[in-house]
Subunit: 198 residues, 2 copies
């Protein structure tokens, strides 16, 4: 508790970095990726346009942090949703449902994950966070079909299918969020059961 509450030196926060991240989240949530500019973020945080450069190398660096936060939040939610059921097939279905829910509830954050256009080879921490999401599915998939190879293919199929349903509901192709969740879960069950049968 010692050095926690420092006096702001210029005019502002004790923790501008966090404030900038929060402001950036708000901007993305409200105006989407296109509305994300350092100028706008600075305005929201109540600082000058020069201030962020002391905390982030450039615009992209802040953006990458946001994407990472999005991955972390998704993992948290999917994990929680899957923990509520015991059956492996139902875990996959719960994932699909939660995936669609996140897309609907946190649309901009969800879109950010895919539309940010960041090079994942240049940012291994992002690739890792993305892989960690799919990692949630490995255990149930393996429980469904012992074979590693087959289990991984099931993981990808379920995730891809969930993603498609999420995008379609955002695009208005699928009717309501509720139906979309149910259908995504249903598709996940079908895929999982097919792997059991084979």
């Amino acid at each position: 508790m010692d050095s926690e509450v420092k006096r702001p030196s210029g005019r502002h926060h004790g923790d501008l970095r966090r404030a900038l991240e929060a402001a950036a989240m708000d901007v993305v949530a409200e105006k989407g990726l296109a509305g994300f500019t350092l100028a706008e973020v600075s305005r929201r945080a109540g600082v000058s346009v020069a201030a962020p450069y002391k905390h982030f190398a450039d615009r992209e660096a802040l953006l990458a942090t946001l994407v990472l936060r999005s991955y972390e939040e998704q993992r948290r939610r999917y994990r929680a949703a899957m923990a509520r059921v015991a059956d492996p097939v139902e875990k996959l279905a719960a994932f699909a449902s939660a995936y669609v829910r996140f897309a609907v509830d946190e649309r901009s954050l969800f879109e950010l994950t895919f539309a940010a256009g960041l090079d994942k080879r240049a940012r291994p921490e992002l690739a890792e966070a993305g892989a960690a999401l799919l990692g949630l599915l490995e255990a149930p998939a393996h429980a469904i079909c012992g074979d590693d190879q087959r289990a991984h293919r099931l993981v990808l199929a379920v995730a891809a299918c969930a993603h498609g349903h999420a995008v379609f509901v955002l695009e208005g192709v699928l009717d309501g969020p509720r139906d979309a969740r149910r259908q995504a879960a249903s598709a996940a069950r079908v895929l999982a059961n097919a792997h059991v049968a084979l």
Copy 2:
């Protein structure tokens, strides 16, 4: 053949509208949606930045035309791919495969369809073109399960699943284009057969 070959009045084309569309396609294909600006398109077409405004109301109008072209091209391809097989289940699989192929071969055009951020309620021709794509699937789906309601749900499930696989391969989550196509087709078959069984 009469009034076809008019003399360019200023300095340029007989059909600048088309030339602009083509140039815009090139720009999007090369630099993605973010690189699409009227200034850049004008440069490519070899005209001044003012010229496009005689043919398109504004930037968005040209963009909407591009999206429409993308839909048309997709419909053409999916239709051709589906025509090569007779079995309804295989038609759905062929669609899924072609869908992934288009995403890989024409990445920017594919992304344009979803990322352009155009209001489809304000542009009914786009909503219609999108619906026409799904329309391709209705007949096979109906052949698989007589019930209209169920058939439509199968259509959506297959399309969503194909979309998810397409996005995943673009993101590098799925390995190679070839495997991605096979897996998308496989998932389509599983979904279709499940609807047969029920």
